[in-house]
């Protein structure tokens, strides 16, 4: 007995297609309803643009962190232009003086007072004269400011702040002053037939201009719309031999004793944003 067909096959097919399509459509509609309309919105509206399209001029103070032989302390300035609220270009320059670290003070007082070629240790004068200073240093950099916010201190002071990260090219002018009375070895090259196996009377070879890598990270704490406290950790990395002594144990001071070193500084400054008025986001 043949079964009676209630609907033609094409009606069934179209019905199934319709049901599937409507299910998809319903799913899309639900997904549309579930989508949070704030997803594509900025985190803060009517935000005060404290840096965008403004110059930043910062008189600053800098000091090395954890220097091995000499602390470098100095003052300088940073000039930066903020292309947007996240991206800026800038340059920094610092004039510095130096102070011996505690390690140097401990070592020097135990060294012999006058040079003695019969011993392997440097004299106090030789040790000090080989150390270098950094009278000028600086950098040109690109800065990214991905974080901004506000904070409350002691429930009384409410201030804006932002965090920034910088990368660029560093520059340093190094200086050492070992006179002819101490650094009198005219043939410090180990290959020279006149080689004396004494690195203490070799010229330190740790002065001159150095170009390297610059990295930094810091925070602006805004006192008002145009003045901010600027705290930064900066790394000026370049080839250096701060002790000016024999590093690779070949009993001579040569250019091979220089190595790529990080010079970490902590900086504090007052940033002045120009023009003084800040705009707001929509």
């Amino acid at each position: 007995m043949s079964r009676m067909r209630l609907f033609p096959r094409w009606v069934l097919f179209v019905s199934v297609l319709g049901v599937v399509a409507s299910l998809f459509a319903a799913g899309d509609a639900r997904a549309e309803r579930r989508k949070n309309p704030l997803d594509d919105q900025p985190a803060v509206r009517h935000r005060l643009l404290l840096v965008k399209n403004r110059f930043e001029l910062t008189p600053l103070f800098e000091s090395t962190i954890n220097a091995d032989f000499r602390h470098i302390l100095g003052g300088g300035a940073k000039l930066e232009y903020h292309l947007s609220d996240m991206l800026s270009l800038g340059a920094i320059g610092v004039y510095s003086t130096s102070l011996d670290t505690g390690l140097v003070e401990k070592i020097v007082k135990t060294l012999e007072t006058d040079p003695d070629d019969m011993t392997r240790e440097p004299s106090q004068g030789e040790f000090n004269a080989h150390l270098n200073d950094m009278p000028v240093h600086g950098a040109a950099f690109v800065s990214l400011t991905p974080w901004y916010g506000k904070l409350a201190a002691f429930s009384a002071a409410f201030v804006n702040f932002d965090f920034y990260f910088q990368a660029g090219v560093s520059y340093a002018q190094l200086k050492s002053s070992c006179g002819a009375n101490l650094c009198d070895d005219a043939n410090p090259d180990p290959a020279s037939p006149m080689f004396d196996n004494n690195p203490n009377n070799d010229p330190p070879l740790n002065d001159g201009t150095k170009i390297g890598l610059y990295l930094g990270g810091g925070i602006h704490v805004f006192m008002n719309e145009f003045i901010a406290l600027d705290l930064t950790v900066r790394d000026y990395a370049f080839a250096d031999n701060p002790s000016g002594a024999d590093f690779n144990a070949d009993l001579a001071v040569t250019d091979d004793d220089s190595r790529f070193l990080h010079h970490l500084f902590l900086g504090a400054g007052i940033s002045v944003m120009l023009p003084p008025g800040a705009k707001r986001t929509p």
Binding site: L38, P42, A43, H46, L48, N66, W147, A153
Partner: protein, 348 residues
């Protein structure tokens, strides 16, 4: 009374007619549309009158976000909105991101409620203004009566001869939201830095160095600073800064210059001071980082050690050289909070 009845009836009919989808939109709309235009909707926008800003808020600044969660008084509709908004259990609800009350609406409601009695008793209508509102910003993370378990790693930042690494933990109990008492412990490992070898090789001097084995302390924490920041203009993260002061003990050990002569250990009274930051990720998890200065008078190996002088550890310790040390360490870790959630005891 009669007017209240017909209004209730009207509201009931409207809710039934519009259904839950309207409730969903209400949640988002109210979050998007601050400050509310209210009655001015559709009218030409006029320059805004300056209003006194709430304490701690930038004038006109509006924070956006998708973490809105219903306030308890929003009822079932709000609950549906919260569920649709994708709020996960344990996520931190941000102040200003949820459905915020509107001053105009509240004012209008107050006026409407006042209408009946005013007519009956001839009481003058009281207008609300921003000055009548006390703004208390609700913190997105509560710590009071909660316990923080903070495992961390740390490293020395101010010693150019020897660098210490440590693994440690803190166990802090918050007496209030800004004050905590806790204990901490650390186990240290050390390595010599470049100058240790350089001094020996270049200056022919063996540095006198101590290494640290362990330390422990009783600490007090105070949180004076809290804030929030936006990351890439998309995500808002709250954070706080806190100071720590404590006292404890550190064990240091002499690194012998000459292995023929034994070293010795010291137990040192160690006050500490520090500053740290805490970033709130969930109701039960934060990321902490900070700097701590552990201060003590360490006892170092005496300069002269021969077979006749300071040969034993006891003699050497007796004639050791004391020196005040600031052992500054950078610490970073993840904190787990117990109980893992918290309840607000005040209204938004």
């Amino acid at each position: 009374m009669r007017s209240i009845h017909w209004k209730s009836l009207l509201i009931g009919v409207l809710i039934a007619a519009i259904g839950p989808s309207a409730s969903l939109r209400t949640g988002y709309d109210s979050a998007e549309a601050q400050p509310k235009k209210g009655k001015d909707k559709g009218k030409k926008e006029e320059p805004k009158k300056e209003e006194p800003k709430p304490e701690g808020a930038d004038e006109g600044e509006i924070e956006m976000g998708g973490d809105e969660k219903p306030a308890p008084d929003q009822g079932a509709a709000g609950g549906a909105a919260g569920a649709e908004g994708g709020v996960q259990e344990g996520e931190i609800e941000m102040e200003g991101e949820g459905a915020e009350p509107s001053l105009e609406q509240d004012t209008a409601a107050a006026s409407t409620e006042a209408e009946g009695p005013v007519k009956a008793t001839q009481v003058t209508e009281a207008k609300l203004s921003w000055q009548d509102i006390v703004v208390v910003i609700r913190k997105p993370f509560l710590k009071v009566r909660r316990t923080e378990l903070y495992p961390f790693v740390s490293t020395t930042v101010n010693d150019n001869i020897i660098r210490h690494y440590s693994v440690g933990g803190q166990f802090n109990y918050f007496l209030t939201d800004v004050l905590a008492v806790g204990v901490e412990g650390q186990y240290y490992q050390s390595e010599f830095r470049e100058p240790f070898d350089l001094v020996a090789r270049q200056a022919r001097r063996l540095p006198t160095v101590n290494k640290y084995n362990w330390s422990g302390a009783l600490d007090f924490h105070y949180v004076p600073v809290y804030g929030k920041f936006a990351v890439l203009d998309k995500h808002i993260i709250t954070w706080e800064a806190y100071f720590t002061a404590g006292i404890g003990a550190t064990e240091s050990q002499v690194v012998e210059r000459d292995k023929k002569f034994p070293g010795f250990k010291n137990i040192l009274i160690t006050p500490n001071l520090g500053g740290s930051m805490r970033f709130f990720l969930f109701k039960w998890l934060t990321i902490n980082m900070g700097v701590r200065d552990y201060m003590f008078v360490d006892q170092f190996e005496p300069t002269e050690r021969t077979a006749a002088e300071n040969a034993t550890a006891e003699e050497a310790k007796k004639h050791s050289d004391g020196s005040f040390i600031n052992n500054v360490m950078f610490q970073i870790g993840v904190s787990f909070w117990f109980p893992t959630s918290f309840e607000y005891t005040t209204f938004r």
